[in-house]
Symmetry: C2
Subunit: 422 residues, 2 copies
Amino acid sequence: MSTNEQSTTELLIAAKEASRVLAGSSGEVRAAAIRAIADAVDAGHEEILAANALDVEAGKVSGLDDALIDRLTLTPDRIRGIAEGARAVADLEDPVDEELEGHRLDNGLEIRKVRRPLGVVAVVYEARPNVTIDSAVLCLRSANAAVLRGSSTAAHSNAVLARLASAAITASGLPAAAVTLIGGGRREELQELGTATDLVDLIIPRGGAGLKKALEAVATVPVIYAAAGNCHVYVDAEADLAMAQAIIVNAKVQRPGVCNAAESLLVHESVAAEFLPAALGALAAEGVELRCDGRAAALAGSGVEVVSATDEDFATEFLAPILSIAVVDSADAAIAHIGRFGSGHSEAVVTSDRDVARQFQAEVDAACVYVNASTRFTDGAEFGMGAEIGISTQKLHARGPIGLRELTTFTYLIDGDGQIRG
Amino acid sequence: MSTNEQSTTELLIAAKEASRVLAGSSGEVRAAAIRAIADAVDAGHEEILAANALDVEAGKVSGLDDALIDRLTLTPDRIRGIAEGARAVADLEDPVDEELEGHRLDNGLEIRKVRRPLGVVAVVYEARPNVTIDSAVLCLRSANAAVLRGSSTAAHSNAVLARLASAAITASGLPAAAVTLIGGGRREELQELGTATDLVDLIIPRGGAGLKKALEAVATVPVIYAAAGNCHVYVDAEADLAMAQAIIVNAKVQRPGVCNAAESLLVHESVAAEFLPAALGALAAEGVELRCDGRAAALAGSGVEVVSATDEDFATEFLAPILSIAVVDSADAAIAHIGRFGSGHSEAVVTSDRDVARQFQAEVDAACVYVNASTRFTDGAEFGMGAEIGISTQKLHARGPIGLRELTTFTYLIDGDGQIRG
């Protein structure tokens, strides 16, 4: 793994050269390098913990909030998890050179559409040091060179993880610049990465709205935003209400800090009086703050404390035990609400009416649209795609989990015996 | 079709609303609307010719060069071609709602990955009025609303084509704003289109480097550049030289003004003395200007006039009967030359050495990589994809011909019976 002594451009040139070697490397060699990284992470756990303690200490001194400190903190368990995650990626099917389509034209030309690596993939992320290894091994598995731009908050942890991975990669016979850490945390690095159109093939930012805005302002390199999820659960007139309650409680509280957690509950007016008192009670019992529109507030049981919801609440991805709640007149109204406030991530309807289910899936414009299930399933591993580098809410190239296949492009390979065009 | 009396934002809002209707429309209705457009173009050919004559006259007065005047000019044959092209698009398979993948998870969730329209697709183009109908019908077939931003040069032609299409679309029961012409030709329109992230899902520019630069500077909406082709033919040491000559002559002269025409010839030194005199003679006889590096110039036959090639010649997409020529030491050197100067469009090797063919296809990073065939085959129709809106040289989402499928995204539809995440 390259270090930070060179300029960003020098590092990117080396990454581009490494990407050419990776594109010609065998899947077995790349998988072996990933397993060597996993072993190195396991063997180096004391060193990793010591470096991480420095970051956590500095973070506390500088006043990071508890959620950020939690994301920054590594434990023996979490380190084992990083190594196990890497081994799982090594076991995934090699996406490179897969033949996607093939046919023979009347003139005898054979056309094959073949999956190929993108080249150099840059991942820009905040706090969480596990992303360093997660991203490195996903890029390595898909034969892309990885350029990792972490945050200064995790600088010590990232540096140790990078050095361990570096030794494993070169020992496996692959170029050191297959994985490059850019650890400066300077704003100009975003500008340099975002405009290096000849050297960087894709940038994936994993972070908040500020990072997205900063990249949008400068990027000419293609970007896939691993973006926010303002996810809804709509309880229809024909819902099984016990199922609906179990789904909204799961979607909200099972892990509130992630992008596929529900942030908003919509309830059809015809079942609101029956559904809301019990459901809001159950959510309140789990410690969820309830921000209700007027109709929902009026139906909350007397023992349940609620606050008034504003439009801003309906537009907010809380990533916390907070839920916005509205009563709607119809499935149409629910779909319109989601069209206005949703972020195109994961949306769910609870209904036993097949027509409503089909309408919801046809008209809600999102990466993942659920009928009678929790939004929490939007996840590469849950979908059987293996690990992912994030969830895309954009429509081009990757939508939903960004897994190995989404880290590839394709080439048309055409074989002839002298064909010319008439 | 909407007209230009409203602001760009108002037009885009109407297009977004129309895109929702289109997303729910049947493929039969959309195909019928396209056939009605074709009939209207046929029936309106006199009106189209009259409007086009005004554009051509104005273009001559303002000093457009012959190539641009040719692109601008419609003839009865070309108008018939536009209508026939539209009918061919109506006959293409409906891409919308195609199930791309489907599986059932252990927990009983059914996951289907289903093709969906993108929403609003904006096409920005220059001179050629045929693009107005070509783009409109491709978007209509894929259930996208089309926003067409033509150039002022073709304003009269585009306006008539738009009005004819408009009547056909509304007569077919689809919303007028399914196809919207923005005909002002103001630079600010690019800015307005390029930053309308909530209203425009994709912009496809069809034009030169200036248009690309202008869009790159402002666009936050995703853009797929239907871009330049600096295409090479490499004649290897083990080439069938008669085949090689036929391929380079075809790739260069069959239609020099298009992006898949060859712009550069590379010849292995071991066959250069045998190959070049005859090949350059044949190219010269077809009126091709030959820009040679020193070694190639020295081998040109005495009867063949050549000029010295600069690096700039090797970097240039001539789109004209001009060819740059270099002698190279090896297949490696040819691949390196293409890596330096190529635009990632279409590259060809002529060889009977299977190892060289495989190496070339593995190491040349381009949308289409040919063995023993002309680069001129890179085309949606030739590839069996039907009509295309251009050829993409970028790696994300669409690479190579941008056909109906490339104008779509997908959604994961997940059906459960109450699953929650543990």
